[in-house]
Symmetry: C2
């Protein structure tokens, strides 16, 4: 049984959380999580406690991304270790609370898995976001999900970038998983996006139930798109944008962009090409929330990761 020899062993995933409303205007996660808080039958699985949770209730109430600062960038060691107090931005205070309930981040007491549900205005379809290329539990889970929802597609974005990785809400867990589904405008609930997100969560929880029951998942490979660079809009000296995403690039998330391909279109109709040295796969193209982050898209590189077989540690 050679697969057994090479298998990686993980403890049973006993505590799982599903977060909605990390950004208060991303309505699929807000609506699903509120629905599951009222009636948890759909997310119950044997051998695991699954908790649905609204992470940024004030932003949800206001239907805005955040109140003071982006919660999904707030889980830094500095924020999590700072003293509580009235002067803290709302989301920093909230990050400390979330960390207390579901963490502490990096500790043995942290939740096993946290799914954080997001929407994007970009044409990204369903995208699972991972933070480590060596977390075989997560790689096996996304492999399982991709197979289960075929022929529908589900992409995997890997953000291990030394500078572009950020301190996500889900990073409190041992196995953090982001789920980003689009295109959907902020503040809007579309049935197709809602059902796509719901289907992926079903398969994710099924995987955890199977894993906990003792099923061994054999070694596999997973195609991922690794975060490579952030690309800003062209801007004038005052910081105002001077060009739009080119119509040939708009909505073409995950498609190859080759050197010389049109990337931006200036207001007077001039085309600005992609000037990189080699093909990339852009994503988060023209996402509403990223104008303030000086980001017109991120480029990625496609690669195939190998995942060891995994199995639960016998008690």
């Amino acid at each position: 049984m050679s697969s057994r020899v090479n298998a990686s062993y993980f403890p049973q995933a006993e505590r799982v959380a599903i977060f909605g409303g990390t950004h208060g205007n991303e309505m699929s996660g807000v609506t699903l999580v509120n629905m599951w808080i009222k009636n948890r039958a759909e997310i119950e699985r044997s051998g695991v406690a699954v908790r649905a949770f609204i992470t940024n209730p004030r932003a949800v109430e206001k239907c805005s991304r955040y109140i003071d600062t982006d919660l999904n960038r707030a889980f830094t060691p500095e924020n999590l270790s700072t003293a509580s107090g009235d002067g803290l931005p709302y989301e920093v205070q909230r990050a400390k609370e979330v960390n207390q309930i579901f963490g502490p981040k990096g500790s043995p007491d942290a939740y096993d898995v946290i799914f954080d549900l997001h929407n994007t205005t970009s044409n990204m379809g369903s995208t699972l976001i991972l933070e480590s290329s060596t977390d075989y539990f997560n790689l096996q889970m996304v492999h399982y999900i991709k197979k289960a929802i075929a022929p529908e597609s589900c992409m995997v974005l890997l953000n291990e970038h030394p500078h572009l990785k950020y301190a996500t809400t889900r990073s409190v867990a041992k196995h953090p998983v982001g789920l980003e589904v689009g295109p959907q405008p902020q503040g809007v609930l579309r049935s197709n996006i809602f059902e796509s997100m719901r289907a992926i969560m079903k398969h994710a929880l099924d995987f955890i139930e199977l894993f906990n029951s003792g099923v061994e998942f054999p070694a596999c490979s997973v195609e991922v798109f690794r975060v490579h660079e952030r690309v800003d809009y062209p801007r004038d000296t005052n910081g105002n944008i001077t060009a739009m995403v080119h119509p040939h690039l708009q909505d073409c998330d995950w498609e190859p962009l080759n050197p010389g391909d049109p990337m931006f279109q200036t207001f007077d109709g001039r085309t600005i090409p992609y000037e990189g040295a080699s093909p990339v796969y852009p994503t988060f193209i023209n996402e509403a929330a990223y104008y303030e982050k000086q980001q017109a898209c991120i480029t990625t590189r496609r690669e195939t990761l190998a995942a060891n077989a995994i199995r639960k540690i016998s008690k």
Copy 2:
């Protein structure tokens, strides 16, 4: 010359304004107007003074729909006649300022034409919004625009409804024209939507220039969609929505909805049909900004309006 006998005569349109940023997160109008403020060559026409103007600069700065209240509902007689003071909501104060510069509303001193540029998250394409079925100047203008941009389409929404008509920013002018282009998420600038709006404004200004030059526009007919009813989302007793726009209706703005057709889909998968007595044409389907207005869509009825020939009054 029978057309001459029946022509309606209007004074030359000497002062025209183009408003952007009435809603600060509707980026096509914000961007075009800011562009035209910097360089007005594109909107200059002989015989008319055209002024580009940002109506809600604080909302634009914040990239939000409004600060205190919806500016595009604020031009009521009560607001416009109330005394200025520190306690006023920002948009009420701003409405009074706009009315002072471009009005007073209903007076001979008011601007001749105001175009107000909007975006929608709904799949409405390009839509001109009129407030009167007997304003032949405006009917002739939209007829001209529709012909000029063919084979691209431009719909005309007529809001003369006794209860659903609202006190728009553009209502300050003698001839108010709304331009609504979508789908575009709030906070996003898409090149296709930007260029559609720009093309319509070009033809609108061309029409005014021709009219001012003395051209007579012969009698014509215009297909419009008249606002009929507002339809809310199904809600529970706490006011929370319990169903989404049905996938068969989503994105189908301007298409006929017949009695019995699917209208909403509940979270547990049940279909709620349209229960009206006769076909309607829904629009503003699932618009982000209308959740707070308890509006999933508005229904309209299609009709054809006749417009007299128009000609400028000779000096």
